[in-house]
Structures are given as structure tokens and as C-alpha cells.
């Protein structure tokens, strides 16, 4: 089954490499991995979706936790969660199919963000299943190219991931600590 993990990591160059290297050498199968900054500039947040057993998900969680630059890890499975994926889809259109595409966009609450003579780019946000059923509907019309961000996820309400008193280390010169890796 699919497992969603989320992690707070120090926002330092090379940290993504450490995480990816860990997955590769331990043989973990990752569906998607997203990373971006949080409201605290020194901290980034990752969402990792993986296929595997509960035991394998625990192994990923524990090994992530072992990395020195990983501050917190949590498994979101079984917890109330909001998860979103964003896709940009370029679809071929002509005068006869354009309105059908627009109708589909309405139904799926997707947006057309670029229009050219023989194609449109559609932006759609939602959970993975919604995006997959949308692409299934578009397929007969001719998908030219497609890009997805991968899933980002967050626990609802009281369920939160916090860096527990994180503070960036100062240097002997009093500057903010920056290690370039």
C-alpha cells in the first residue's frame, strides 16, 4: 500500500542528496518526493510517498530520522490529512474539441492557464486519484505533455509537525551558520 511521510529538514545544500542517497542505498521504493521551504527560512519540508508494507514505511521513517539534518519525521497514514498534487497538462485541441476540454475542466475544477491555436495548458490541483481520473478523461483527446509536482501533505487540525525549539546555530563570528554541502 501507499505510505505518505513528511519530514522537516535543515535547509542546507546537500540535504536532499542525503535523503535520496539513503533511499537508493537502502533500496526503498519512492513514488514521489517533494521539497520546499517553510515559513522558517532555515527549515524545508519534504513529503515522501512510497509503496510498501507498514514495516518498510517504518524503516524509511527510522532511517530518515537518523540523518543529522532531518529534524522531524512523521507518517501520515491513518491520520486525518490534506494531500494535494498539482499537474500541468498540455492537451491538443481543435475547434471541435475545445469546448469538450473546457467542460471537463469545469467538472474537475481545473483551470486553463495557456491557450494557443492547437493546444491548451490545464492546471489541476487535487489528490492523486482526482488527477489520475482527469488525465484518463483527457487521454482520448491527446495529451501532448504533462508535469506533476508530486504530493504535498499536511495533517489536519491538532496533528502538526513542529521543529521543537529549533534554532540555527551561530558561528564564532556571530553570523548565521551556513554549511555549504
Amino acid at each position: 500500500m501507499k505510505h505518505t511521510l513528511t519530514a522537516l529538514v535543515e535547509n542546507k545544500p546537500g540535504v536532499l542528496n542525503r535523503v535520496v542517497s539513503l533511499f537508493r542505498r537502502r533500496g526503498f521504493n519512492i513514488d514521489s518526493l517533494t521539497v520546499g521551504r517553510t515559513h522558517t527560512p532555515e527549515i524545508s519540508r519534504m513529503t515522501i510517498v512510497m509503496e510498501g508494507t507498514e514495516l518498510e514505511a517504518q524503516k524509511v521513517e527510522k532511517n530518515l530520522f537518523k540523518l543529522v539534518n532531518v529534524i522531524q519525521v512523521d507518517q501520515l497514514n491513518g491520520k486525518p490529512t490534506v494531500s494535494r498534487d498539482l499537474a500541468l497538462i498540455k492537451v491538443a485541441v481543435n475547434s471541435s474539441t475545445r469546448s469538450e476540454v473546457m467542460q471537463l475542466c469545469d467538472i474537475f475544477r481545473a483551470r486553463i492557464v495557456d491557450v494557443s491555436r492547437d493546444s491548451v495548458i490545464i492546471e489541476i490541483t487535487g489528490d492523486e486519484r482526482k488527477i489520475e481520473s482527469f488525465t484518463q478523461m483527457l487521454e482520448p483527446l491527446g495529451i501532448i505533455e504533462m508535469v506533476r509536482t508530486g504530493v504535498v501533505a499536511m495533517g489536519r487540525g491538532e496533528h502538526r509537525l513542529s521543529p521543537e525549539g529549533y534554532q540555527p546555530a551561530p558561528t564564532s563570528n556571530g553570523k548565521t551558520y551556513k554549511s555549504v554541502l
Binding site: 527510522k62 546555530a169 558561528t171 555549504v180
Partner: protein, 568 residues
Amino acid sequence: MKLTGAEIIWECLLREGVEVVFGYPGGAILPTYDALTKYPQIHHVLSRHEQGATHMADGYARVTGKVGVAMATSGPGATNMVTGIATAMMDSSPIVCITGQVTTSAIGSDAFQETDVTGVTLPVTKHNYLVTDVADLAYTIREAFHIARTGRPGPVLIDVPKDVQNAVTEFVYPEDPIVLPGYRPAEGATDEELEQALALIREAKRPLILAGHGVIMSGAMRELQAFAERTQTPIALTLLGKGAIPEQHPLCLGMMGMHGEAYVNQAIQEADLLMAFGMRFDDRVTGNLDTYAKTSRKIHVDIDPSEINKNVRVDVGIVGDLRTVLQQMTPKIEPLKHDDWVEQINEWQDDTYKRDIINRPAKNRLYAAHVIHDLWEYTGGKAVTVTDVGQHQMWEAQYYPHERPQTLVTSGGLGTMGFGLPASIGAKIGKPEEDVWAIVGDGGFQMTMTELGTAMQEKVAVNIAIINNAYLGMVRQWQEFFYEERYNATPMVNPDFCKLAEAYGIPAIRVTRREDIKEAVEKARAYTDGPFLIEFAVEKHDIVYPMVPAGADLDDMIRRPSATPDMV
């Protein structure tokens, strides 16, 4: 105080209590070597190869419990360290490696002697750093030592570009607490975990402790013995767990696993409770996981959360420092008796032929098992032994009982041939008052025998015992058992090891008969001006018994042939 990066490195090492650094200079680390002339408090040991320097730091760390330090230049100097770093990683040995790097502006340009060392060593270090600002240097070194020695120890590498070593900055040693938000080593067990563990312990009729390297690293020897005695629980040891409890202790069964005694493995298979203390269920101790210890419930205490349920599913997993956990647990458990179980194991024990091997007539032959046994006898069982990897390593584990922790240094996890000699040099430098013996095979010795030069130059009074069977013996054994005796690429044509030693000014003796072992060992022990080498020319086709073939069931062992006077 204005200091260069190079000077800051030494200032920080001094504050970490570093007295000796093992290394090899080169272009990108030269500023640091030059600055060393201002720090006579730190002794530099020049290895003959950077791999040797890391093994020396590792050996030093394992016998002293302190962090070993190795230093090398960029590119090939650093890549030569990789085997030593991986060895330390697999055996959780605390070392800090400092490597020079090309100047910051040249990084990424394929400059002369440039290698992405933090990239190369990422999977084999506990953590690593590339320092690009001299202002970060002191903090980084302090963090590196902290990470190397705390939690589950391991190697940490710091890569320092040449311009950072030359840069000048105001040096203020950071005294405030280390801030590492993502690094929080576990401490003790929760009450709930303790209760769950205690419930299993109270119910058990056939409990068994599996003691590993973690016992020694957490300093839990006394706690382990107290717990085992209070609950009358026998203890089986991993290879790196040797020394966790005196091996002559009545509750100590000896080594488990692929070359453990059959009764130890049988006890594991028939126990109803396994308590794994600071060990990680390596495939060399479990054999086939599908049939491993099916009748028992399991408690696993380890400081590394990722070890719990990694290879073997356990009923109670406690992430914590073993010493703390045992201190919490022992007072809570009432004294328990397991006389029948202990009796049963003793009965199985009588069934093995170890004693017969030791007593079998030599008949003008020299058996490696006899060499190790006699070495144990003539060193009073008190030596620090440092082995290489292969048959001699297993014979050492079988025939040299250790009474104290940190007296067996061996590459268990990575199985690094070539580890023995350099690690023994590091061990002797770390504990000069100990009787340190490198016990090496002819194969592994020749991988790093270049370090004889280091031992000579530093007058390191280590005793070197080469168990020479003119074969890569362990591989030959596998060929005999599993490849229909096709001895391909295992016979070795060796140099005259005694003459080789002579070239280095190292006194050497060749022993070919059992009755000559005593005198040779005594001569080696009496010689304290530098290294001493003994070549034991042993039987070529000898085999390490018993053996669990790789992947077989733990109790499906190839046993020692029953003792007949003529057996080989």
C-alpha cells in the same frame, strides 16, 4: 586571537583531547601540516597509505574508547581512506577524518587531485562536512567529534579546502552547547517499554541474552553481568561482543553464528526469549531468517532506532543506551532461576569437540587452532588481539577467550582484509601498556604490510603473528565445501616474511612445530624496542569448524569431525 584555518584545526583537536593523529600529507592539506609544527603536544604518525591511517585511527578508537583521528590530502589521499571509513562505519567505531580539498574556487572544475569527497563518503560516514567558510571551522570540528562519539558512534569526515586552511579569522572557541536540532541520541527506556520487557522476562523459561558490540560501547559490562546473574540468563556473544562479559563466566556461552559453537546456536534456536542487547542480527549471526529463532519472543535494546525490526521482528523494541536501560531494568526484576535450561545447554556443550581439537596430537604438524590456543596460554589470556579477516579471525574468536572489553579489535561488519596490521599499530599507540598482538593471515597481511614501515619508524612494540597457510584460507574453505574443491585463485606464493621483517629491522622468527610456539611468544613479549614478527607456518588445508553455510539454518551446521588422533 587571529588564527589561520589550519591553526584552528589543531586548536580544536587539542580541545577535543586529541594526542595523536594518523595521516599522510599532500598538497591540499599542506597548510595544516605546516601549522602542526606549532603544536608539539600532538603527535603525528605517518602511515604508508591513507587506508592504513584510517585503520590505525579505528584501532586506536576501539581500544581507548576515544575518537581516533586520521588526516589525508584531497583526491587520491581521501579516496584511499574510503575502505577504512566504511570499516569504521560498519563496526560503529568513532573516528574523525580530516581531508584537504582543492581551493573553494576550483571545486567542481576537475582540478588536480580534486574528488567530491563528501559525495564519495556520504554512504559510509555517519555524517560529513565540506567547510567553505573559515568561520564555520571550529563549530564544524566540535560537531564532528560530538557526532562521532555519541549515540551510535561512527566515522565523520570534514573536508577543508586549502584556502579555508589559509584564511585568517578571529578564533573564539565555541563554548555554548552544540545545537543539532536533528540529532538527539536516545537515552533510556520508557516505563511502558520496561513493563513490557519485564513481563516477557518473568514468563520466560528458556531465556538467552545476545550480547553485541553495543554492550562494550555503552560501557554496560558490569550492568550486563548483574542482570544476567540476577535472572540466571546465559549469554551468547557476537564477534564484536567478545569482552562484553568475561568469557570464563559460567553464564557466558561464547560466540554465536556462522562459526559459533553448535550448542550456542542450538540454544538460540530453542530459547523461548531472546534478549538482544546492542547487537543487530547480522546475517552472519542469524543464518536463514525464515527459520531463525522461531520458538522465542524477542526483546531488542539498541541505541539506533533503525536497527529495531530491521532483520528480525521483535516483540519489544527499546531504543536507548544499553547501560541506562539495564540500570533501569535490573532493580525492577526479582531474582529468577533457570537451572534446567542452563543444565540443558551444558549438556549440549559436552557434545562438541572443541577440547579435543586443542588436545589433539600435533604429530609434527602445526595447527592454527593450536597456535591461537597456545598464544592465549602464553599471553596469560590478557593480550589485546587485533585480527585481520578470514580463517585466523574465526580461530581467534574460538580459541582466544577474552576477559576484558576492548581487548579484541576486528573488522566484523565490513570484513576488511588488511585491517589487522594497521589497526594493531593504532591499538598499541593508544594503549602502549598493553601486550598487543596482530593476528593476521598471509593474505590480509600482504594487503597492508606496507605499514611495517610505520611500525618501524614509530618503534611501535606490537607483536605480529602471521598465520601462514599459503592460501586465502577462508575462500579455500568455501571452495572445498561449496565449489567441489576447485582451488581457483586461492593458493599464494608468499615472500619470506622473516626476511621481509629483517629488511625493516624487525626481529622475526618462523615457527613450524607446536613445541616452538612458547619460546617464540616469550621472545616477542620480551622485546619492547619495536615490532616483533612471528610467522607460523600452519597446515594448509585446515578448516574452521563448525560452520553454518551462508543462508542455511542456524542449527544446520557442518560440525567438527569427531576427534580421532589422525583427523585433519
